[in-house]
Each structure stands twice: as C-alpha cells, then as structure tokens.
Symmetry: C2
Subunit: 372 residues, 2 copies
C-alpha cells in the first residue's frame, strides 16, 4: 500500500510516486499546512484548484482542540476537514517544545501545559501514535525530540531519546493503512546526523523524516546536513524534510534528494502581506503598488494573479480586509506547488541539475526583481 517508486533521478534529485490509501502522491511534493484541520483562510475547493495534493495537520493542536477522539468519531481527519487526498500528521513533539511554556522531558515522555488553557497533558511515543491513529492521516510520524541546535550535549541526548522513541513508536503503531515515518535528529552536527540516519534507516519505517532543521541554523548548515546524510538514506523510501518551505529551500532540498516538504510560510507570509514572486519575495503593502495594474506575478496563473491587480491587493491589505490573506495565500501556495511540479518535470526530463542556478536566480529571497 505504501510502495514508493523512484521514476527518475537527476544527480541526487528524485521524481517518484508514493502510493497511499487516499491516492498516489507525485514527488517531490509540497504540503500546505492545515494546523487546526484548515489551511488558514483557504477552502478545500480552493486548495484543489491550487493543485495541492498532500496536506499536513498538527497532532498537538488537534489533540487539544477539538480532540482526536472527536475527530475519530466524526470519521477521521479526511472526513472532518473534507480533504479526500493524502494527509500527513506530525507527532506533536515539535509543538510541545516550541509552543508549551513549561514542559518536563524524561526518557518516558513529556509533560506539558496547553498553550490554550494552561491545562497539563502528557505525550509519549505510545500516546502520540494513538492520537495519530485516531486522526487517521495517511502518513504519520514517530514521536521525537527536537533540541536547540546550539547545544551539542542536549542534541546528543535528544537524538538518543528520539531513537528509543522511534522503536517504541514502531511497536505502538497498529494501523496498516498508515505509513509511519521515523525521524532523524542530530542538529547540525554531521557526525550525529550520520549516526541518526543509519539508526533510523535500519528500522522498518515506511519513510524517513529529517527533523530539527530550519530551527535557527544557517541555510548552508542545513544543506550540509542534507548532502552528508544522503548516501546513508535508503533509496526506496520517501524522504521528508520537516517544516521547510522557502522556494530556494525547496530547490536546494530537492537537489539534495528530498521528496516531501511542508511549511506554514506561504500562508503565514500571506497574512503578513508578503508574496513569493519570480524576482523574489515582495511586500504587497508597498505604496508603489497603489496604482499598479499588473498582477502580483506576471507569469503566474493562480486565481489571484489571473484575476486581480497589485493595486487591488494592496487596497485590500491597507483596508485590513480578510480577502487579502486568502488571495495571497492562494498565490503563495500555488507558487510553491507549481515550482515543485515544474522541478519534477525537469527531473524526469533530466535537466533539473543544469536549471538550478536559473531557478535560484528567479525564486531566491535575494533574486533580482524580474517583473517590477
């Protein structure tokens, strides 16, 4: 059910198909994030039009509200949020560490306080897997610990705990219609990363996630980790780089053998008036756009760019209209979805490698402005 086929390779980059109970995923793939069982301000119909295939939703948030048992009683997450295509849930580990103000970690698990009402809860590998089985996503994650990337001792402890929890997660997992991924930790220490990769790769997971990146390290440190661990990763399992999602990180991630990405960035940026475009990121509140009759990105064919001018988008932002966030989210999600699809075509055509400098020039954060 979870066979992963590599259809084409281009140096380290791969174009594949991941078979899931809710349909085949063409990889590489970018997953929009629906933290609370909704991609903020975007309907499932709009997500379908954007071309999204895989969505991510957060175990921590859904456990707290509305509750995983409620979602299970409602027929599972696909039915609850009306997304008929594949869904991925994380383990809740990262949110426990980043959102809960007080938490106590021991080898058995983590006790934390809800960011909503301060109530006390406990996660451990068995509980995380049980919650994810209740939610019913196609792709689920082992419970892991993400450490401060600057604290090497803590990184080592967290990695070893992550390995022990990976074994417990595997044992706890009972649903055969869910692909359980193990998570590699080890911060930006290349030796630890290789050790973690070998450990996780040796276990019978359906896929491999790379956690603990994009959490404060430099981009070069992140790319070094990806390049270094690549040869230790199994070829026949999908590789998921967690929480990564700038256009340049997608390009470099795919170039380093990554198949699956997710990130809140496109929707979060959109709610703060920022848009990906060919030419780099632009702030749509810029006064220079007040009378600009061009679309946000002249070469984009998303609903927002097909329909509205920059002048109108800026007006919505200045007037604090809800539609601004929705229209920019549609654009940003479309931009990443389409970029990844185009890269997939290039991998299959065998010319992704030679196109990387051009893609980075067009989409990079510091790219020169091509269309403004």
């Amino acid at each position: 059910m979870f066979e992963f086929e590599v259809k084409a390779e281009n140096n380290l980059a791969r174009a594949g198909i991941f078979h899931t109970p809710h349909g085949d995923l063409n990889t590489p793939v970018f997953a929009p994030v629906g933290t609370q069982a909704t991609v903020k301000g975007v309907t499932p119909a709009q997500l379908k039009e954007i071309g999204a295939t895989l969505l991510l939703s957060n175990t921590y948030h859904l456990y707290l509200r509305p509750g995983d048992k409620l979602i299970s009683n409602m027929g599972g997450l696909h039915s609850f949020m009306q997304w008929p295509n594949p869904i991925l849930t994380d383990s809740g580990g990262y949110q426990v560490f980043s959102l809960s103000k007080t938490r106590k970690i021991d080898d058995e698990g983590v006790t934390f306080k809800s960011h909503i009402d301060g109530s006390t809860h406990r996660f451990n590998p068995e509980i995380s897997i049980q919650i994810q089985e209740n939610l019913g996503a196609d792709i689920i994650m082992a419970f892991d610990e993400c450490a401060d990337p600057n604290n090497i001792e803590y990184i080592q402890t967290a990695m070893q705990r992550t390995h022990a929890w990976a074994e417990r997660s595997l044992k706890a997992h009972s649903r055969t219609d869910q692909a359980l991924f193990g998570i590699i930790q080890g911060g930006v220490d290349l030796k630890l990363r290789v050790e973690s990769t070998r450990f996780i790769a040796s276990m019978p997971f359906s896929g491999i996630a790379i956690g603990g990146l994009s959490v404060g390290e430099t981009k070069q440190e992140m790319y070094n980790v990806l390049e270094t661990i690549n040869s230790h990763l199994p070829v026949n399992k999908p590789r998921y780089l967690m929480g990564v999602g700038t256009p340049e990180d997608l390009i470099n991630g795919i170039a380093n053998g990554i198949d699956i990405f997710d990130c809140v960035l496109p929707t979060r940026l959109a709610r703060h008036h920022s848009a990906f475009s060919r030419g780099g990121r632009i702030n749509m509140m810029n006064a220079g756009f007040a009378t600009d009759q061009n679309p946000l990105d002249t070469e984009c064919d998303c609903y927002t760019c097909r329909t509205f001018t920059r002048a109108y988008l800026r007006h919505l932002i200045v007037a604090k209209e809800l539609l601004a966030g929705t229209l920019l989210s549609i654009h940003n999600l479309f931009a990443l979805t389409k970029l990844v699809k185009e890269i997939r075509k290039m991998i299959i055509a065998g010319n992704f490698d030679e196109n990387i400098p051009n893609l980075l020039d067009i989409w990079g954060h510091n790219a020169r402005r091509l269309n403004s």
Copy 2:
C-alpha cells in the same frame, strides 16, 4: 438601457427584469454588500457560485480609501474588484451620518470627519454624484439625509433637504450608462412618507430607493410605510429598500412591492457565528453542535452545507479560524439569494401570496426549529 420590465405580479409583489450595462438583473434581487470593494472573506468566484448577481459597494468608504479617482484610473469599480455583473453604490449619505463622529449639516451639504484618520471632508449632491460617476457602478443613488426616526421635526427637515438634494443630484448626473435612483425619506410618519414618495416619483429617476428604514423602528412600522407608499410608486421603475436583509424582511418587503434589497447582515452575522437556517437563526458556536454530523441546514445546497458538518464549522469557530467566517458567509449569502430566487418563481407561478405564511414559518427569526 435601464428599462425595467414587470414580468409577473402577485398582489403587490412583482417579478421583473432590470436591464443594466453589465447584464440583466432578475428581480426581486438581494445584493451582498462589498463595503470596501470586497464582500468580506468571499472571493468573486465564490460569489458567482453563490448565485449573486448585484453587489453593493459603499461610496463613503471607497472615497476615503483607496479613493474614487484611483478606482476610476484603474478602470472603474467593476474592473478594480473584478465583478463583471451589476454593481450598486449608495450616496455616502447614510455613512456620513452613522460613521463620522462629528458632522455639520447645512442646506448645501455635509462636512464630516473620516472615521479612519479624523481628516475633514465635505459631501454634497454634486460631490456624491461625481464620486459615484468615478466609481462607475450601474446603479447609483441621489445624495440624501437620513434622520433619527424618533425626531419628527428633524425628519421633516431632513426630508425637505433630501428633496432639494434629489433635484441637485439629477442635475449633476452626466453618465448615461448609470441608473440614478431617487431616495424617499420621511421616517415612519406615513403622511411624510407619502409626500416624499410623490415628490421623488414625480422626478425622472431610473428607480426609487426607500431610505431611512431598518434604523431603529419596529418591523411593523417599516411594513406599514411600505404598504402605505405602494400605491404612490410608479409601476415601471424598480424599487429598492436600502439596508434591509433578514429573511422575514425580504419576504415581507417583496410582498409589499420591493424589487431590490441589500444588507451587511448575512456576512456580519457569519463573522459572529450566526447562520440563517430553515427553522430560524442559529448560533454555530453552540456546544450542542460539537459532534453534530449534519450540515448547517439539511435542505441547503450551498458549498458549505454540501461539504462540511456542523461539528467542523463549530470547531473552526472555537479555534478562531478565518475559514469559519468565509464558510458561514457563503451559506448566509446563498440562503438569501436562493430564497429570493424561489420567491421570484412563486410570483411567476402566481402562488407567492399563499406561500407567505409558510415562508415566514420556515425562515422567521422566531421560526420553530425544523432541522435541529
């Protein structure tokens, strides 16, 4: 260009066609409100799917932000907000009286302060018409003064000023592709209302608006005004009841000969978790909906009701998700749009009159709950 054809009558109710430069409007019609050139949280594509035909936008808001000249330079309001179908703008008069904290009214016009930045501005009939010509809506309004319904002396003064301003608005209007409507005032005083109706009806307006209702008077007072003025209204011009939009007011308004309605209510209620339904208005945050697998309204076929459960909608509301407002707005707008379309069919079939008690029973604010 602005011919109004009455296709069928049922007692006082009329089914008509109003020909405008951006297409024929089937009446009766309910116009969603896009105050700042956007129906809050709803895209034009979603409005089209809802079945909306006429949109209202506010002269006062657009004059202040982004400015009517900017919109004119962008090709007019249809192009700016990408609504290819008919648009109606109000005169700005009502907003000057309801939103501006300080205003000075004299016979020539009104000086007021912006609710955005406190800057001083002046509206008079000539300025209001100029702004509305810049915006370029199909249906525009004469500049009027809306008075406190409980102050009979002020009502009389405001009515007389409204009549003088109606004459000036007519003189100032130069675009032949816009239908200019005169506005009847007179509070809930039936004698003044008849006087105002005769005055406005005697002038060469393309349609007749009834202003100054739904501003604090009782529903019965409003219906009395509509019933009383009916015989003084010209048959061959559309009649627009400004700012009115509960289901029961639409039913009773149409029964009293009204052709056009607009109201912020469906979208404002939606942002406050309230939904129209067969059975009466319901608060979707109600804890009883937490595990309710029914759609919001079992007999509704809007996107929201076709797709999502009450449990999911309640979750979005409790989690303070943007999508809640969008999905409830889609439902509430669809409900009113469809109700008016169904009434139109009944008028043509000649059985609207006999269906009124049943319609009020289904849709009234205090209707018994049929589906919960």
